[in-house]
Amino acid sequence: MSTIWRFSRFVTASVRTVLRGNPAYWAWLALLGVLIVSGALAYADQASTGLALTAMRDQVSWGFYIGNFTFLVGVAAAAVVLVIPAYIYDWKPIREIVIFGELLALSAIIMCLLFVLVDVGRPERLWHMMPPWGHINFPSSILAWDALVLNVYFLVNFVVVTHIIYRAFYGRPYAKRIVIPLVLASIPMAIGIHTVTAFLYNGMAARPYWNSSILAPQFLASAFSSGPAILLIVLQLLRRFTRFEIQDEAIWKIAELMAYAMFLNLFLHGVEAFKEYYSNTEHLLYTRYWFQGLGDHRTLVPFAWSAVALNLTAFLLFIMPAARQNPITLNIGCLATYAGCYIEKGMGLIIPGLTPDTLGEIYQYYPSMTELRVSAGVFALGFLAFTLMLKVAVAISLGELRGEPGMNAAWAQPQPIQPATARTSTS
């Protein structure tokens, strides 16, 4: 009973925190609100008229929504880029900020689930996947696997984050025996969610562009090289707008790891291109559609080369310590890698995989206004969740938000979130 009361105090205190902010904060929320409302209206249209309002047709039956979903699974998996140095290598500078990576993972999973919701033809039937009333085609269907691992990953991260922040709210360290196993489990899980998502495409023999063994490693490389980019920007914003201290080393180390991941990403893309162009079978058609266009059909070509340029730029900027450590080039690199991987994972994966279609037809897909509005709404919802969670987490980390009376001293010394010592703790 008292636990429930204490938790509700935590919730109400969190709500109060997110309702307080400076004009910049409210402007940001207002922008997100506009996008969310626009997205909701567009989705209402889509739900009543049907998916015909999107540009997807039989020939290209997956598009912008699933592309975004794929990219965001990668962002969610990228939390592991922080978790491994923090917990496996016990590297203190990152230890302090790993929770933000987990919050990003949570927001990304929320967006993933929302993108699935807006993409299916009968969203009210999604419960058909849940036993005992539904039926899940496990282990045969990779989509079933994906639904399972994404939700479990979400749960794991949610439990860890809530536990840590709730404990910190009451000024108490988190319980190592709860957090450490879950966090360690989240590492293979992060690899797992993105591997399973890759298998979703990989396993389809009907789509030679996807049916390549390299897809799962390439997904992971691209995820680790782009996912943390948001985090790097957010960390810099936190440093700027709050009293949160984040060590430069932490940021530089993340950027360095992203550089290595980007190298792998570029290498894997390169070997894929070699195989397609050198073997020169009919399967080359999909890669050619992406990089060169087929005949008059050249819609995606600018995107293809932009992605290459952006990824190369990001790699070069992050691999050079001087560029990494310069805030301007660092941020250019972040934007470049995020945009580059977004294009390559979204437009560059789904659409060339489906164009030409299985019967050789070319339908040039690019998203419709409805899809853009709905997607912007989903991204806004995810960013909203991230912003609100971040606000609470930062406030608690800085000691500005505390549950016990007397501990609400606004200017208490900022304390990084710390684990329990040798004694076992009770909630």
């Binding site: 015909a52 047709r57 039989d58 339908y363």
Partner: protein, 186 residues
């Protein structure tokens, strides 16, 4: 056990559907015929077909073509007095009307051996040269059939699709093409 059940069921169907499954029966027979001494050719059983597609008012031919009114002229020639609308495009270099139509009995066709064949068995005439097609037709593999896959089927005569005088299958006007996928904003 399953194959026994299938065999019994197939046999039961054969017995039940008698005439309609004759094509299958014929194949069956040719299989059994190979077991017996190779003396006579397999018996050609009749196939039930709709009436032959005669032009209006032309049958019975013997109304005009009898030895009294129109004695038979077996000379190979271009017809000018009647039936001149028929342009033969069926091996016309080597054959003409009376190679299929029986000279003595115009209400019948005839085989190369001289055996007369009624119009509703014209497939036997076609089958002389087009043996593979004939065999496939009997098996139901060539040509259109409607009906039941596990029961009565309706055959058509060769001539229902192929005019015997110009047998090349006529070109057809195709139904409209499917609609191309259109974006919602077009």
């Amino acid at each position: 056990m399953l194959s026994c059940a299938v065999a019994v069921w197939a046999a039961w169907l054969l017995v039940r559907d008698g005439g309609a499954r004759v094509a299958d029966t014929v194949r069956h027979q040719s299989v059994t015929a190979s077991a017996s001494p190779p003396a006579a050719a397999p018996v050609q059983l009749r196939v039930e077909v709709p009436p032959p597609p005669f032009s209006e008012g032309v049958f019975p031919c013997s109304e005009c073509h009898n030895e009294v009114d129109l004695p038979s002229n077996p000379t190979r020639r271009q017809l000018v007095d009647a039936h001149d609308e028929i342009v033969l495009k069926h091996d016309e270099e080597h054959r003409w009307c009376l190679d299929c139509h029986d000279g003595k009995n115009r209400d019948q066709l005839h085989l190369a051996s001289g055996e007369v064949v009624p119009f509703d068995e014209s497939y036997r005439v076609c089958g002389q040269c087009h043996g593979e097609k004939y065999r496939d037709w009997r098996a139901g593999v060539h040509g259109r059939r409607i009906g039941h896959w596990n029961g009565a089927k309706q055959y058509l005569l060769c001539v229902h699709c192929h005019s015997p005088h110009q047998p090349k299958f006529k070109a057809l006007a195709p139904q409209p093409a499917p609609r191309r996928p259109m974006r919602p904003d077009r």
